[in-house]
């Protein structure tokens, strides 16, 4: 129904004038805007966001609902696609704009049944997890002696003993990036010297007979692809002690693992459109997929829900940023990065207008602030925003973004940022059956939401675009 209303007409004219005025003011402001003015301009709105985040159970409950309803969300699984459907529906309910799943072709690896049995010097079942991408053993499995090494160098010195054996990389956890090489490259290095399968001591600093899965790769196509699995720290050390007592350690490994034809998944996207520069995008993200164990609560359900909830609170508070806030819940971070690759290809022309990309993928534990990779000119603005997070003690800005998916956007010039949290126990639960909802804490989660909300709101709204 349409009817002419004089008052509305008058109000419309008044509004047009106000918008014109504001735009002019805004333009002038942007020319001279100094980082130090951020607290003055945004103190009230960010106080409101902090309070809203810290007094809510909404995001945390929604995370539990996702984890408990769908279970782990592995790429290629029905669980993941059902969780994406659910998230898209919920985002509509929240009132986000442009809610959509953007299709992504993803690799599909399936674990199937698997087991490891110690056969000599005594028989014992060993907890294990095949590594993502590994081939299987065939139904008959592989029985062989274990050759234990603690590094690639050690493997070289023992190369003449490796033929026909199962190589175990028994390397102590030093730091993830350093120790994970045996998980990623172990099969290829072992196959080069004639091993028939390879095992890796789980990559983690603490274990309760807890195998950790994760991605592996066959890096050299001229080398045979052999099965590769993770065993527990306990059993790695047991095998080592047995060997040092002069025992021959023999195991039977059986894995039904298969690499299937690629399938389809989706990046989950929702927006708060910018009021002035909708083409400029602040991308805020986590990854929706998890490994096929536990609940993917920490890695990375919490990251997804923290970013989503932060954006929802901005929306709910009635705040409308100048630039677009785009929530992206990546698919297939864990075993292929197909989600972000596909996004990069599909949004290539927009990338120069990606003002900032944020990701939370280190667990929603107590936040300290943010890590950043971008220009030096940007840092003073980010530090000024950081000051608004003093009440949370989450005001630390440091160089070198710790993030996963969004690092793929760095070559395109996109400034990227990770939520920086207490990672004391992150690698205890990482890629294990113990990555479950109970490992997360409401207060810590809310602090992540609060810090993220403040950062995304101010970067999306401040009078100047964050310098590249």
């Amino acid at each position: 129904m349409f009817s002419f209303d004089f008052n509305s007409f008058r109000f419309f004219g008044w509004m047009c004038g106000l918008v014109a005025l504001t735009a002019g003011y805004s333009h002038a402001l942007s020319q001279s805007f100094q980082p130090a003015r951020i607290s003055e301009l945004y103190g009230d709105s960010t106080d409101q966001l902090l309070k809203a985040a810290m007094t809510s159970r909404h995001g945390f409950n929604r995370l539990a609902e996702m984890c408990d309803t769908f279970g782990p969300r592995f790429t290629g699984s029905e669980n993941l696609e059902r969780a994406i459907d659910w998230a898209l529906e919920e985002m509509q309910v929240d009132g986000f704009s442009n809610v959509r799943g953007e299709e992504v072709v993803v690799p599909r690896w399936v674990r199937g049944n698997e087991s490891l049995t110690l056969m000599n010097p005594r028989q014992k079942s060993c907890p294990m997890l095949g590594l993502g991408g590994s081939v299987g053993t065939g139904p008959e499995g592989i029985t062989a002696e274990v050759l234990i090494v603690d590094s690639f160098e050690d493997l070289k010195t023992k190369a003449d003993q490796a033929k026909g054996k199962i190589v175990l990389f028994n390397a102590p956890f030093v730091e993830y990036g350093q120790t994970v090489v045996f998980r990623v490259r172990g099969a290829t290095e072992a196959a080069k010297v004639g091993a028939v399968a390879s095992l890796v001591r789980s990559v983690g600093p603490f274990s309760m007979q807890t195998p950790h899965t994760g991605m592996m790769a066959y890096e050299d196509k001229s080398v045979p692809e052999i099965p590769h699995a993770a065993i527990t720290v306990e059993d790695s050390l047991l095998f080592e002690r047995m060997q040092s007592m002069g025992e021959s350690v023999r195991v039977h490994l059986q894995m039904d693992a298969q690499n299937l034809e690629p399938g389809l998944s989706r990046n989950t996207i929702a927006e708060i459109p910018g009021t002035e520069n909708p083409e400029e995008i602040v991308l805020v993200s986590g990854h929706m997929d998890s490994w096929d164990v536990g609940q993917g609560a920490m890695d990375d359900g919490g990251g997804c829900l923290a970013m989503w909830e932060a954006a929802r609170l901005i929306l709910k508070s009635g705040l409308r940023p100048r630039r677009t806030i785009r929530v992206v819940l990546w698919t297939n971070e864990e075993n292929g990065m197909a989600g972000v690759r596909s996004y990069r290809d599909g949004h290539e022309k927009e990338l120069e207008n990606h003002v900032l990309a944020i990701e939370s993928d280190a667990g929603t534990f107590r936040p300290y602030g943010f890590s950043f990779t971008g220009s030096e000119q940007a840092m003073p603005y980010l530090e000024s925003i950081g000051k608004l997070l003093k009440p949370l003690e989450a005001d630390r800005l440091k160089w070198g973004a710790a993030a996963s998916d969004i690092m793929r956007l760095v070559p395109d010039g996109v400034p990227v940022m990770g939520l920086d949290v207490d990672r004391t126990r992150y690698f205890w639960y990482h890629h294990t059956d113990a990555d479950t909802m109970d490992k997360l804490d409401l207060d810590e989660f809310n602090r992540c939401v609060a810090a993220s909300a403040v950062m995304m709101w101010v970067v999306a709204d401040m009078p100047v675009r964050l310098p590249r």
Copy 2:
């Protein structure tokens, strides 16, 4: 071969005189011996013991050998009896006297195959451990809805909903003695209100999807015996969240558990006979049996080896105490206490000459000192011995022995003592597959050996018998 040797004859006469003199001196000393003189008399010998204990890998390596060679040592298992055979042989090699296995009739419970599957609201395999003494479900298993309660009181208020259900006692870990009641008595209480099986949230303060087994009992013979199992903290909380979202939680429980006819095991015993009062006994102990998971490294392989090693170091140092040191490695502590009961019956007449019984059964973590149950007159002597442990910072004596088997000797008037250690992580690993050798530390273990060696040596040798 025998030949007369004049020098030997002369030496023998000289020795007889010395022994007579020493005995007279000793008698006079014992009449007036004050606790404060302990450090003066024993400073040298205990310094020697401390040094020997802290610089050795022998006991720790022997513990690893036992754990790795035999695996868990559950009552009724071949593993346990083979470990006992091994210990008896090793004790002979050490040069102990009166090395023997004393037969004990023990209960036999076998776990068999077992599993728990969440059926609704989604399907998921749940790590679980049946509880010791539980009946099985029959091969077809039990499928039923789960009724979640957090206490016996809560069960009473929900009694009318329990019929035909599986009751889950989802009680948070407060303190072992308090929380363990649901594991011990849960089945009987659940059966009283018509439940068909019962589950208990594992009794532990931290979990990595770690079920904890342990003893349960059917306390009221007029009540049906229903299957009883432990699930993980993670799944208990998951079930609770599902229920609070209005879901009906249904599970399928299958347990082959059986109580078999009693069998035979042994208490493992070795002695350093007393030189003056061999009839007076300082009993030092741990329990040889473990649950049928992990390696029983902490509970209680470490306790056994710490006491055994302490006695071995006394022997090896050439120290010969006035009283007998009797090492006892109990059988069947975990599910019946048949070992100590049998000892008590078989050694009834000796009990009044048990000067002190010591046990280490709280893990060989960093020791603080000892806990004691006995007379007030004894404490000054123990405190004076404690002072010799200052270099270890293990000089704390406190009232109220924390020990298991030897508490059964208290009604007979035997003073009892527990090795008091840092128990921060004890209940993380307790009765789980994660109770493995790697959880123990050489330095901490050696401190336990050192403290135990000093305590047992001085109590066994000091001029006066420890007052009752």
